[in-house]
């Protein structure tokens, strides 16, 4: 087994306060891992660290040769300006950025790729619509189409199924399974434990520090969940500098 992502004594946080504390471990190549934990457990922070948006306070992340900007990332709170006059088609086509860069032209074959990604998320016919006219679920479908085009080895999804109806969830989960079968490494922050048990072979239970990591059935025990809840949400304004060896 090769590690796609290796965390070495990783501490991530804001203003010196750790949100992820001394995380060690590896995400295996081609694994499908759910990251679970209460609010404030550090799930989003971990993902931001993985894709390089924030720098580690201590420790490091090894990415097995994948550059941070080659990781496809779906943030939890996206900064999309929905009033911007841009069509669904153009928005999805942005997923080709890695191959096209600033100046690359989009040819007939690329157009087919874009169309098939839009079809794969069930948005055929929506291409000319302005993004401001989409519902929340359609928006998420569009973002998944863009992820499809990014064709990344590592895909990081931050709470992708929040406020999404059952049908859309099922359709998007199908894409996640497809990525898994294509040997891509997928990390997803999740809250719906039933969905995790049904679809994610591996889980990482996080409560700022890792509580459990491994096969989903071993991780999602009542004892672990209780432990995670207790460990979370202890923010101390007067906290001393951490003495654990870095």
């Amino acid at each position: 087994m090769t590690a796609q992502l290796q965390f070495r004594n990783l501490t991530l946080g804001y203003d010196r306060h750790p949100a992820v504390h001394h995380l060690d471990g590896a995400v295996q190549l081609g694994s499908l891992t759910a990251v679970i934990g209460p609010n404030g457990a550090g799930k989003s922070t971990l993902f931001k660290g993985v894709v390089g948006v924030i720098k580690p306070l201590a420790g490091r992340i090894e990415r097995n040769g994948v550059r941070p900007q080659d990781i496809a990332y779906l943030p939890q709170v996206n900064e999309i300006d929905r009033s911007f006059p841009i069509s669904v088609y153009d928005m999805v086509a942005m997923g080709l950025w890695r191959g096209k860069g600033l100046f690359g032209g989009i040819g007939p074959r690329d157009r087919d790729t874009v169309e098939s990604a839009i079809a794969a998320v069930g948005l055929t016919g929506f291409e000319p619509r302005a993004i401001g006219t989409l519902s929340g679920g359609q928006m998420q479908r569009m973002l998944f189409a863009r992820l499809l085009l990014q064709d990344a080895r590592v895909i990081v999804l931050d709470e992708p199924f929040n406020a999404i109806d059952a049908k859309t969830c099922a359709d998007l989960l199908e894409l996640v399974r497809r990525w898994h079968s294509e040997q891509r490494t997928v990390l997803a922050a999740m809250h719906d434990l039933e969905m995790v048990k049904a679809n994610f072979p591996e889980s990482l239970l996080l409560a700022r520090e890792p509580v459990a990591w491994g096969a989903t059935a071993d991780v999602l025990t009542p004892e672990n969940m209780l432990k995670a809840r207790r460990m979370c949400e202890a923010f101390d304004e007067q906290a001393e500098a951490c003495v654990v060896a870095a």
């Binding site: 894709v51 948006v53 900007q69 990781i71 990332y73 943030p75 996206n78 900064e79 999309i80 300006d81 911007f84 006059p85 841009i86 069509s87 928005m91 942005m94 950025w97 890695r98 860069g101 600033l102 100046f103 302005a130 993004i131 863009r146 990014q150």
Partner: protein, 289 residues
């Protein structure tokens, strides 16, 4: 008759022709930039920038008199310092762009006024504020046209990151590092076009030819390409019609140009096909799906 009204002023007088070419060039360069400013909710940034340029131009004037090079150079330097400084601080601290820009332009303005008053020179502020499109000479025209050409080329180069940074900055950050440089280049374009515009229209009205056509375009087009086309067209028509109005009624040319744009704005708010007020008043049946 029509010839006398619409063409003769330009056929008969060279200064009118120059003014027309100058305003067309300004329209081509400034209007697309205005559209991006509006889409990034930075409509008032142009105004702040114009204030930031003013002290630089005033210092240039004090040092070298009414020299195009000194005034444009001073304006460019002051504008770049403010734009780049504010942009860098916005990106590396928790301050938002507008807040850091406000801080910078106020400091620049105060500094400029202080320098001017300490030096005790009686600067002709009216020229800075309102310019004179009818007094555009060859070097000024070349400067304006040059700025427009450079603007269009740079805009083409940074088009993708600029659009993406408006609509989804988080995604741009995750796929590319082009966002920062593109943003700085864009702010530089704002400064350059204001400096070009203030030679003809003065600092205050240069913002007008940048922003009014952009705001108008929102009422006529749904996508960004259409908006930019509309904005350029509006700015050019305002320039042409404004010059005619100023010629026939003996009005100052800069304000006439902006007032024509203002009139188009008023019409657009009421009648514009994209969200004009008139469509709210007209009862329309809803569609089936």
């Amino acid at each position: 008759m029509l010839y006398d009204l619409f063409i003769a002023p330009f056929a008969d007088f060279e200064f009118m022709r120059r003014a027309l070419v100058g305003s067309f060039a300004l329209a081509l360069g400034a209007a697309p930039i205005g559209v991006f400013l509006m889409l990034r909710r930075m409509s008032l940034i142009g105004d702040a920038m114009a204030h930031a340029i003013l002290p630089g131009a005033a210092i240039g004037f004090m040092v070298a008199g009414l020299s195009l090079f000194a005034m444009a150079g001073g304006g460019l330097i002051a504008g770049f310092v403010v734009a780049v400084g504010a942009g860098l601080i916005a990106r590396s601290t928790q301050l938002k762009e507008d807040a850091s820009l406000a801080a910078f332009f106020l400091i620049s303005l105060a500094l400029g006024v202080t320098i001017v008053s300490v030096k005790g020179t009686n600067v002709d502020l009216l020229h800075f504020l309102f310019g004179s499109v009818l007094a555009v000479d060859d070097p000024t025209l070349l400067l304006i046209v040059g700025i427009t050409s450079v603007s269009l080329v740079i805009l083409a180069l940074i088009w993708r990151p600029l659009v993406l940074e408006c609509v989804d900055p988080g995604f741009l950050r995750s796929v590319s590092r082009a966002g920062g440089p593109a943003h700085i280049a864009f702010l530089a374009l704002v400064v350059m076009n204001l400096v070009g515009g203030f030679q003809a229209l003065g600092t205050l009205l240069a913002v007008g030819i940048m922003m009014l056509p952009a705001v108008i375009s929102r009422f006529w087009a749904r996508d960004i390409t259409g908006m930019i086309g509309t904005a350029i067209g509006c700015a050019a028509v305002s320039g042409y019609a404004g010059l005619l109005v100023s010629y026939h009624f003996n009005l100052p040319s800069g304000p006439a140009i902006i007032l024509v744009a203002g009139a188009i704005y008023a019409v657009s708010v009421v009648c514009g096909p994209v969200g004009g007020l008139i469509w709210l008043a007209l009862p329309q049946r809803h569609l089936e799906a």
